[in-house]
């Protein structure tokens, strides 16, 4: 029986930011479908890995999507290959309305507004409101909605529950589950409860390198390993 090809393959990714060698040869694979969580302590390079995959920081190494090399492409071309990106800290356009934020994300005229409004009905009601005046949770909805608006086979989602109230965390987790039915999700997330709920696979980074890959259930079911790899207690989720 042949092993299925991974949808995304990251190989030997290096990133230097100033004097700091942030990624030191990160290599991992993301299988098609479901959520793969990219985990690690603060500052180990999770966000930089996503930014490097998107071409938002200068990098060395290769990233392939379904066999196609992405590292030769510019950021907008990578996105047009079907990779949606939800950045850390949302990065909504504060001066634009919610509708304008979504309209900006439209590609190829087949925007999935029904899906977006089904997941986040509030966005329909607040369409005319400036995104800068929304709460953190609402801004996160806009950020996720922008990525879901197009039929992206891959979503890179960076700490979507960061700084959110518990109720909103549940809502965002539900949206991630729904997103994972439609696309392959690579998720950076500190909240292990959310990881346990949505992720199938995990990739753990430490010191700019991958130190563990495997099933999410196996890792999170082993509190000693969670403590050793992530520096947190795994039983709290």
């Amino acid at each position: 029986m042949s092993v299925p090809e991974p949808l995304i393959r990251v190989d030997g990714l290096h990133v230097h930011l100033g004097e700091s060698h942030v990624l030191q040869g990160v290599s991992f694979e993301v299988p098609e479908g479901g959520v793969t969580a990219l985990l690690g302590r603060n500052g180990v390079g999770k966000t930089t890995t996503l930014r490097a995959m998107m071409g938002l920081v200068p990098r060395r190494g290769t990233v392939t999507l379904a066999g196609e090399e992405l590292t030769r492409l510019r950021t907008h071309q990578i996105v047009r290959r079907g990779i949606g990106y939800v950045p850390e800290d949302r990065e909504v356009f504060a001066g634009l309305t919610v509708d304008e934020n979504l309209r900006l994300a439209e590609r190829n005229g087949a925007a999935r507004y029904e899906l977006v409004y089904e997941l986040f009905p509030e966005l329909r009601e607040r369409g005319g409101q400036r995104a800068g005046t929304l709460s953190g949770g609402q801004q996160q909805m806009v950020a996720i909605a922008r990525a879901l608006l197009n039929e992206n086979p891959v979503l890179l989602v960076d700490e979507p529950t960061k700084g959110l109230a518990p109720l909103l965390v549940t809502e965002v987790a539900a949206a991630l589950e729904r997103a994972a039915e439609l696309a392959t999700v690579l998720l950076v997330e500190q909240n292990l409860g959310v990881v346990a709920r949505v992720a199938r696979q995990v990739v753990v980074l430490d010191g700019g390198r991958v130190v563990h890959t495997g099933s999410a259930a196996d890792l999170l079911g082993d509190p000693e390993r969670v403590r050793a790899l992530l520096g947190v207690h795994g039983s709290g989720h």
């Binding site: 510019r74 907008h76 996105v79 950045p87 504060a94 001066g95 634009l96 304008e100 900006l104």
Partner: protein
């Protein structure tokens, strides 16, 4: 009272010109982070292109002015787009080199104009009705002031509508806030860069045409002298803000006129610098920063 009205309308006319130069400068810096020191040279090039065209066609001064203005605007837009494509695009993320290139380009373009048409000012075709005056509250106002104000108002309205209602306008407004995130939505923001440069060049060229009408002549140093005030207008208004630029341009034009008349002739420029210092102390980011609307 009549003096105050005259000063006010003349100040608004001057502010209109400042706005036309500063709007492009502001959008270019707001979107791309490029300080375009060659922007004044685009004004000069536009003004000379308009004057040149006016000498090549027959007809009344009005026809010559209109044909010249259209030609000058087209040349300004084309030269600006070429500058972006050939000289600025390879230097994004290299701000020091950008400054050096645009300063050098300003010197080259001005030298080119001087080499072709000489140092002397050239008479600009101004229709008689523009030189005539209209009485407003007892003040005799040259009609060209109304043309300058109306033109700037039309450009302001057009730019605002463009930014608000078009896809490219949306991209530019978003890009002024967060260029990287625009590309992360799958948008090739470089096309917007070229477009903004072309719009800025067209507006600067239009300012060159209007400065020809205002002063009655074109000369090679016009762009450089007006560029200094345009930079002040942009800093006061806030980089990337068309609305802020418009308000700032009017304030600077009025203060210059009032100070020159009510304080002492020549104090207008000093008053503007003083205003800049006050704004920088109280609101360093400008009146309406970093949002293109």
């Amino acid at each position: 009272m009549s003096t105050f009205v005259l000063l006010t309308i003349t100040g608004l006319g001057l502010g209109a010109m400042y706005f036309l130069i500063a709007s492009g400068l502001s959008l270019i810096y707001g979107l791309m982070g490029v300080l375009n020191f060659a922007h004044g040279a685009l004004l000069t090039v536009g003004a000379y292109a308009a004057w040149w065209m006016s000498t090549k066609i027959d007809g009344s001064a009005g026809v010559k002015l209109l044909a010249g203005a259209l030609f000058g605007i087209a040349v300004g837009a084309l030269v600006a787009a070429l500058i972006e494509l050939v000289l600025i695009r390879p230097l994004y993320r290299r701000p020091v080199e950008q400054v050096l290139v645009t300063v050098g380009l300003a010197l080259v373009l001005n030298a080119l104009v001087e080499a072709i048409w000489g140092f002397d000012a050239r008479a600009f075709p101004v229709p008689t009705w523009m030189i005539d005056t209209t009485s407003v509250l007892g003040a005799s106002i040259p009609n060209d002031r109304f043309v300058e104000i109306a033109t700037a108002a039309l450009v302001l309205g057009g730019l605002t509508a463009f930014l608000r209602w078009t896809r490219y306008g949306l991209i530019i407004r978003a890009g002024v806030e967060n260029r990287a995130m625009v590309t992360a939505l799958g948008i090739d923001v470089r096309r917007a860069f070229t477009l903004v440069f072309a719009i800025g060049g067209a507006a600067a060229a239009l300012a060159g045409v209007l400065s020809g009408v205002y002063f009655g002549v074109v000369d090679p140093s016009r762009g450089t002298s007006l560029l200094i005030f345009a930079f002040i207008v942009v800093v006061i208004g806030g980089f990337g803000s068309i609305g802020g630029t418009a308000v700032s341009a009017v304030v600077v034009g009025l203060i210059q006129q009032y100070a020159n008349y009510y304080a002492s002739s020549g104090l207008g420029d000093l008053a503007v610098v003083l205003l800049l210092a006050i704004v920088l102390l109280l609101k360093p980011e400008g009146l309406s920063p970093k949002v293109a609307h």
